[in-house]
Amino acid sequence: MRSNPGKPARSDLTTISLSAAVAVGLALISLAPRGAHADEETRSRPLASLSTGFRFTESTGEELFASACQGCHMPDGKGAVGAGTYPPLAKNGNLEAGGYPVYVVVRGQRAMPPVGIMMNDDQVAAVVNYVRTHFGNQYKDAVTADDVKRVRP
């Protein structure tokens, strides 16, 4: 199993050189395209800055998706399959009623943590609206912060 243990393989995708580390550290916005055929390595954008403390500090739906949702549902929203499944958010008919994703984000569902406890009402509304109008979803009736407030426990 251990091929060449002492010599890092320079060609390996995951070998991070010093220059790469610095580059990522300095990059404010990745130029990686969101093209349909881009693989995860290029689609996944390094965040400009990370949150401080417990709660998310990002404010736009796009930023919040890239900070919270894509960890499991993946940058293209298509979910993933291992021993279990992360359902796709892309082209997901369950998003038709805006109240449903609001509820799931705020309350969690089965193993999905209630990530909405780390967001304020505006943030939850923003990320739900983003998902409902991207990834092949076209639900134009935006949810509001009040909708979120109502389902808080």
Binding site: I16, F54, R55, A83, T85, P113, I117
Partner: protein, 562 residues
Amino acid sequence: MHLGAIFDPKTSARAFARAKFRSYLFSLEDARRSASRGSKLTMPNENETVVSRRDLLSLVGTVAGSTAMYQAMTSLGFASESNYTGPIKLSGDVKGASVLVLGAGLAGLTAALELRAAGYKVQVLEFNSRPGGRNWTLRGGDSFTELGGTTQTCNFEEGLYLNPGPWRIPYHHRALLDYCKGLGVVLESFIQLNHNALLHASAAFGGKPQRIRDIKTDFQGHVSELLAKVTQQGKLDEAVSVEDKEILLQALRSWGALDSNYAYRGGLGAAPVAGEPISLSDILKSRLWSGLRNFALHQFQTTMFQPVGGMDMIGKAFAREVGDLIRYDAKVTRIQQSDGGVTVSYVNAKAGSSSPATPQTAKADWCVCTIPLSILSQIQLDVGPRMKAAIDAVPYASSVKIGLQFKRRFWEEDEAIYGGISYTDLPIRQISYPSNGFNRSGRGVLLGAYIFEGANAYEFTSMAPADRVARAVELGGRIHPQYRAEFENGISVAWHRVPFTLGCAGYWSEKTRAEHYDNLCQIDGRIVLAGEHASYIPAWQEGAILSSLDAITRLHERVVRM
């Protein structure tokens, strides 16, 4: 100005957590009484068992700001004492009964080992191609494909490794220690507290990390001086008897290194000339004192251990005993039971879209299912509604670990840090120095980040693996500038992207425990669940083993009584 908390995840014994709950409630009540704020605060009932954890968290967030929120969130993993009393005794006639164990993590391996020893016919189905589950070590040459499809190959030098899951064993985890002894797993010290390691807060001391010993000694000294003052002023006369008062003053001089006038002037023994102490106000405002809990809490007190060579030595040792029972690469798709037994359907986990998996079945009289609830909640399973509701009730925590290889052990060579952990409010939260290979020349691997829950855990999970490593290098470089010149390669494991768990561990709250825990652990027909998620020591290997021992003991009682 915001100062994040410096706090180890997975803290706090149950009693500690309860005490914290009470003190939070108490201070919240105070805050409410004195506050003129017109907030929409709703107070929870004083009885903490009926307070929804989320209510409490939002209250903590409202009143105390996000620092307290983060601390509360990362310390509510209610861990209790190990109740291990010695090797399990499964005596009596098992009448040729068979058991199907699902999962070859420590819970499943324990069940397989003990049930076979008791005379059962045992078979094990495991999703991975290796034993151990979260008991796992990554070494040079290993590769790991996370959900999303990115494969990382570990390029560490021979002998260096990362334990992506469990990495330390408290001295009181007696069941795990007993199995290590029985299986010949050699242990060495895991260094949790190193006085020469660092506490760091971005906005304190100009971002300059402080030595743990300085914060600890100076904090202790200042507090001793204050206490000595009020003692001398007679302000403790109601609390302390005359005799004890004299002894207390002596003790404060000794404990706080006070001078003959009960003043703290810094330094405790080690330095020939006392240095200028850090002022009490600076320590208080820095919040670095919060990091000191990571060495006081029950789970983190010395002595702690790690297996020599990597945590997976434990899983491998189990597999030397019961490996012949395990069918690897088996992805369970359906669990059925009837009066006559249990039938489990599974497919080849490695089958691709080009060679679709052919369903197979395994049958037995009984089933010990250790599949994480994150996955079990998605599998069609013949159990009653109460157990099903319990399986569906437990969220899985987010956690990320990142291992970084450097050209040399600069933390030892330049800074005299041999083992231990530095804590920071940066998103990486911790840097842990290896507890082995001390004073060697050549390469070394640091745990460059260990993030548990909170926004940062999700943010790191959301990054591509290479970006996680790059971020950890960038952030860690603010604490150790040597990172820039010495870094070579790294590997990251974000537990929500791990195909065999879909999360780090079951994340119970008091409320969900009260409502669901007993229902989760009951034997339902011919099926019983086990694993850290079915224990009172969640996210620890001890919990997995104790849960397994408890489950198979109850199962065995049922079998011999039948």
